[in-house]
């Protein structure tokens, strides 16, 4: 019945999702990854495994390579050495269908990046219609459900510019979810938001995590990390310095650099 092959897709969902979640099957795997921008060594010997259903928060000082790391997962950045495996696919494989891979990975940007000339509804349905080839009717039905889920069903006809930052980011999340991704990546999704809007976005993300979505989140929201993350990864100068469960990471960080970082971020 259950076959074990080094590919998480083999675990047929019919059998039992929760069982699958407990078996360690990496959805994302970094193996000795190095990346340079010119002479700048931004990622150094990165080894990282992210399991299905896991929520991983990546934190670290500015310029430590967090964005670069997360952008490597859907190959917005290419790496020079090492291997990254996403949903069983090696990203260095020349025959890789990059579009198909990206369709499986939702990406939420700090600056929302909604399409300004399209309505909220069109923003959400564009990908499903053009990439997944669903009908407009079906796409709009799904989009409405997603807008309900992120709490702004009344904004379907609005244009991005008429929305608050928090609403725009929730539309961006709905847009990513509309592709029914296997993984969701967030690069500082609340950093461009006014404080009162941060929570509405974090709540949506918390719900998503509770529903079992695999998530990699670069954020400085340590409260979110504490409550929601299964694991916290701390980076500095292109290296993973330490990782662990949020309870232990926040209570007793092992490395001096993490201690120093936490003292700045928690008590500023």
């Amino acid at each position: 019945m259950l076959q074990f092959v080094n590919d998480h897709i083999v675990c047929r969902p019919v059998i039992c999702k929760s069982l699958c979640d407990r078996i360690f099957i990496p959805v994302v795997e970094f193996q000795h990854v190095n990346k340079w921008f010119g002479t700048l060594h931004v990622l150094k010997e990165i080894d990282l495994q992210i399991e299905s259903g896991e929520v991983v928060v990546i934190c670290g000082p500015s310029g430590s390579g967090k964005s670069t790391l997360i952008r490597c997962i859907n190959r917005l950045e290419a790496v020079q050495s090492g291997e990254i495996i996403v949903a069983g696919k090696q990203l260095s494989d020349p025959s890789l269908d990059l579009r198909a891979l990206r369709a499986e990975i939702g990406f939420v940007f700090q600056q929302f990046n909604l399409y300004p000339h399209l309505s909220v509804m069109e923003n959400i349905t564009l990908g499903p219609i053009k990439v997944r080839r669903v009908s407009r009717e079906e796409g709009e039905k799904t989009a409405m459900q997603l807008l309900e889920r992120v709490g702004i069903p009344d904004k379907a006809g609005a244009f991005p510019a008429s929305l608050s930052g928090g609403q725009q980011q929730r539309v961006a999340i709905a847009r990513a979810l509309a592709m029914q991704p296997k993984i969701m990546l967030f690069d500082e999704p609340t950093s461009a938001l006014d404080p009162e809007m941060i929570n509405e976005v974090l709540e949506v993300m918390t719900d998503l995590a509770r529903d079992g979505m695999t998530m990699v989140v670069v954020t400085h929201e340590m409260g979110f990390a504490r409550r929601v993350a299964h694991r916290v990864v701390f980076m500095d100068e292109g290296q993973i310095i330490e990782e662990g469960k949020p309870e232990s990471f926040f209570a007793e960080p092992k490395s001096p650099r993490a201690k120093q970082f936490l003292s700045k971020i928690l008590f500023h």
Binding site: L76, R99, F107, F109, Q111, Y115, K130, A161, A172
Partner: protein, 241 residues
């Protein structure tokens, strides 16, 4: 000086008909060249920004070649220099079917395409890179991202400079008179030759060009308003629908 104005030269004899034919030819050559220029300009302007170096280089060559040759030389080139290299039958056909018109149209379109290209490239480069990344992150191809997201935004942003270019194109269509295209300037000069009424003829030509250009500017302003992106800084009243 004692000049007696005689405006009737503009409608007596064949003058009226000549002017009308001139306007029609000017519009024909301008519209066709404009479509060519917009197509070439959009394509090459987009190619200059794509993440694939050979295509960028190709588009750069096009732009740098054509915008750095005087339009007049380029028109002569198309009309006098190129046809001998065509097969005889095609040459014959062309010279029976207004070769000067087609040479003029292509020269004008290709020349202004190179200029449109820069305008469109500037529009694309005004869009943050992450906008493109957001599009391809949902699985859209580079082509789809350009067609559905990047170009629709860029083309809206560049309407004011594109209007400028369009007006220049229309005015530059007068250069085609040098290879014998009977457009508006050509007809104006013909009236002048026949009537010896330079002031009246050239005043008529001037006013007609002015009217054509003002019409284009008006239409483009409407287009700009119609397609304004909600929430962008707009010309006064542009955001009101």
């Amino acid at each position: 000086m004692n000049y007696h104005f005689d405006w009737s030269v503009l409608w007596t004899g064949q003058s009226g008909q000549w002017l009308l034919q001139g306007v029609v030819t000017t519009l024909e050559i301008s519209v066709l060249a404009w479509l060519l220029a917009l197509g070439l300009g959009t394509l090459s302007g987009a190619l200059r920004t794509v993440p694939f170096a050979p295509l960028r280089a190709l588009a750069t060559c096009y732009v740098e070649f054509f915008r750095n040759v005087p339009l007049l030389v380029w028109m002569f080139f198309w009309y006098f220099a190129l046809p001998p290299f065509l097969p005889q039958s095609l040459q014959d056909w062309l010279f029976n079917h207004g070769a000067e018109f087609w040479a003029g149209t292509v020269a004008l379109g290709v020349y202004h395409g190179a200029r449109f290209s820069e305008v469109i490239r500037a529009g694309i480069q005004a869009i943050p890179k992450t906008q493109f990344e957001a599009a391809i992150s949902t699985g859209l191809s580079t082509g789809q991202a350009y067609r559905l997201i990047i170009l629709p935004i860029a083309l809206r942003l560049i309407i004011p400079p594109a209007t400028n270019e369009s007006l220049n194109l229309l005015k530059n269509s007068s250069v085609a008179l040098t290879i014998g295209v009977a457009e508006l300037t050509f007809q104006t000069r013909q009236i002048e030759t026949y009537t010896a009424r330079a002031f009246e003829a050239l005043t008529a030509g001037t006013l007609i060009y002015l009217a054509l250009c003002l019409t284009i500017a008006f239409v483009m302003a409407r287009v700009e308003r119609r397609f304004a992106i909600p929430g962008m800084i707009a010309r006064v009243g542009a955001a009101e629908h």
